[in-house]
Point group: C2
Chain length 368, copies 2
């Protein structure tokens, strides 16, 4: 069987180095808020090109803490609006609603699956305080128009960088394009930990310090609580895992580009629509967290692939505004998002996918 | 130097077993919501004597999720009141306020440091929906009067069992005395993980299922979101650590009782007040997470001990209602709680504290 993602194989690449580091942490007796997390934060900041990063417990928390941080700093207030793509993983939206803020959904561009920047301005009201962009499937989304629009309207740009670590827009890494960014190191991500983990990046030292405090029960100094905080900390073990894997991230992303390139050049089936990208191998804008094709007979195609021992997933079959959790938005209609959710399919992709496996996927798809 | 807690030494006791288990998890390629967590949940449920436990990310989250679960089930509503000891770690209170509920503080009994049950009834109003008891410092607090009071007023009893895993009241383990309980496996706890970790215990299957769903982005079935959830999961690595250490928990607690017993019998200084307990060695009501003495010259005593190379901590120097985070409660006055916060001091205690170290602590204290 060709797995959607062979995480065992991915992590066995780094086995010796990571196991040694984990054992060192175990034996050190220090497990939280220690030097390994600090080291990872520094390495990540250098990698992204930002002033500050803060390790947190997971990707959802990274986004929640950015918004909570802005609330503590008086930049955003309860009841304010945050623009967010309709076509995203539900966590982007949960971070907004959990903070008592209103998500304002914007349709995606059908070519990139990412938020359609040209449709943002019409959604801005006097209550809008931020635009959350999501670099979906690993593809950076940004433009100078977006930057100017945010400046003109005094809006923060928050990047949901859960899926795109290492991607670049005009030579700038995602996570350094807006005012603050959230990262997920969920095991299946391009840079995956051995459990939940996340981080925030920003060039705003006040925001970083506020988030660090909020994530530690609201406490800056032991037993003194400034804010009503959370417990959301990256631990030392996940930090050494991430420290090791970060060194290989560009190399792993490049291997993903090679898989994507092969798929793009060799999948030839009139019923299947491939992602559109120029110069795939050189193009730093995409790190191919997911390789998403479109097909009008998606469910049938998925079944066919399963029968042929090829595992696929759908990211995502139900958009946030149609979930039971958001029953108050169920009446909303986003036709592009809804259509995509019925046609998209994610093929196996990773740095350890074998050439034979890639070829088999192509052959089976071309035979469909 | 005698450390307040020598966590390195504690964990080296289990080195071989735990390192092997961690490496197995690393190599397995499965890190979240897997069989190791399920195994730990089953073992913990058996140990506590409850029907259900749910592994979560940390102790604060365990309490937040209990209250959020009751809110989803319609048992508690925003703006309702929850009774909580004034003398507790701030996390107990954060769990309440984070859920849009009102903490109603009750003074402690000076003998046990725990909530004074006789003072609860006067605080009950039509808005009261739950009583949160905290088994502070490792000592179980409960009574049949409390149970009847809760029944009569239709109140849930929530146990904050962060500090007391293994303690018993009348042969029943803490975590099985009320309607639901939160556990912390912060590294320094009696049962400590290698990072943040926690759990909920309950005999209420609906509540357990609701919490499990809430802790997984509100999703019961992949990509279907019933609630606006959080990300708060125990990972497989922490689960194997806890699975191993749980086997030794009673034994470790018994060693703590021996240290406490020695302190109780040998510290003799008119300026120092010792905790009051009968039959320390046999008494299952206390698991001695902390050994807390009282002294009117506390700051001076702590300095004297530091100079003599004995590390101590104060749990806690500022009560929640006097924290900046709760400026709206700063005007409240809880004289017993406030007096205790100025007089208490936590001595080194653990299963690995050496006889020579215990003797030295006693001698230095008696010489004060
Ligand atoms: C835009 C955006 N914003 C915020 C977030 C929130 O970040 P988070 O809080 O860190 O999750 C996400 C998260 N995003 C992801 C989301 O995309 C989805 O990803 P998914 O591909 O459906 O994930 P999956 O199927 O659980 O795992 C992928 C594969 O990996 C295999 N696997 C998995 C695990 C856990 C394992 O141990 N071993 C394995 O072999 C199984 C699958 O084949 O669901 C996850 C729970 C989220 O973290 C996001 O996409
Ligand atoms: C009643 C109640 N309810 C809810 C909670 C919330 O649970 P939580 O969210 O899981 O924290 C608590 C938490 N309670 C504790 C709280 O009591 C306090 O505990 P503390 O004794 O002050 O903790 P500490 O000083 O950080 O650690 C104790 C000793 O251990 C050493 N150490 C520590 C670490 C982390 C290490 O890696 N290696 C070490 O050697 C240093 C110290 O000498 O602060 C913690 C952050 C909370 O988790 C509680 O008491």
């Amino acid at each position: 069987m060709i797995k959607f993602l062979d995480l065992q194989k991915i992590n066995l690449q780094f086995q010796k180095e990571i196991e040694e580091e984990i054992i060192k942490v175990y034996r050190s007796g220090w497990y939280l808020l220690g030097e390994k997390v600090r080291e990872f934060e520094n390495n990540l900041a250098k990698y992204i090109g930002v002033q500050e990063t803060v390790g947190v417990a997971n990707g959802l928390d990274s986004l929640r803490l950015i918004l909570k941080g802005y609330k503590e700093l008086g930049v955003i207030n309860e009841g304010d609006e945050v623009i967010v793509p309709a076509n995203t993983y539900i966590a982007s939206v949960l971070a907004i609603s959990e903070n008592g803020l209103i998500p304002i959904f914007v349709e995606p561009d059908e070519q990139t699956f990412n938020i359609d920047i040209s449709k943002i301005e019409e959604k801005i009201t006097s209550k809008t305080k931020a635009i959350m962009i999501v670099h979906l499937y690993g593809q950076a989304i940004f433009s100078n128009e977006l930057k100017l629009l945010a400046q003109k309207n005094n809006l923060k740009i928050i990047e949901d960088n859960a899926q795109a670590i290492g991607a670049e827009w005009n030579g700038i890494k995602t996570g350094n394009l807006g005012d603050a960014a959230g990262f997920s190191f969920y095991p299946g991500k391009n840079l995956g930990a051995l459990g939940d983990a996340g981080a925030v990046s920003t060039n705003d030292a006040d925001l970083a310090q506020t988030i660090r405090t909020l994530a530690n029960y609201g406490s800056e100094k032991k037993y003194i609580n400034k804010y009503r905080g959370l417990n959301s900390r990256l631990d030392e073990i996940q930090a050494v895992v991430l420290n090791t894997k970060l060194k290989y991230n560009d190399q792993e992303n490049q291997k993903r580009r090679a898989v994507a390139n092969y798929y793009l050049n060799n999948i030839k089936n009139a019923r299947i629509e491939l992602p559109k990208i120029e110069n795939c191998i050189q193009n730093k804008q995409h790190v191919w967290h997911l390789f998403v094709i479109r097909c009008k007979q998606r469910d049938e195609l998925q079944e066919y692939l399963t029968k042929n021992n090829i595992q696929t997933l759908v990211h995502y079959p139900i958009p946030p505004h149609k979930q039971e959790a958001y029953s108050n938005y169920n009446h909303l209609h986003f036709p592009i998002t809804e259509k995509l959710s019925k046609e998209i399919l994610s093929l196996p992709i990773s740095a350890v996918l074998h050439q034979d496996e890639i070829k088999k996927v192509v052959k089976i798809l071309n035979d469909y």
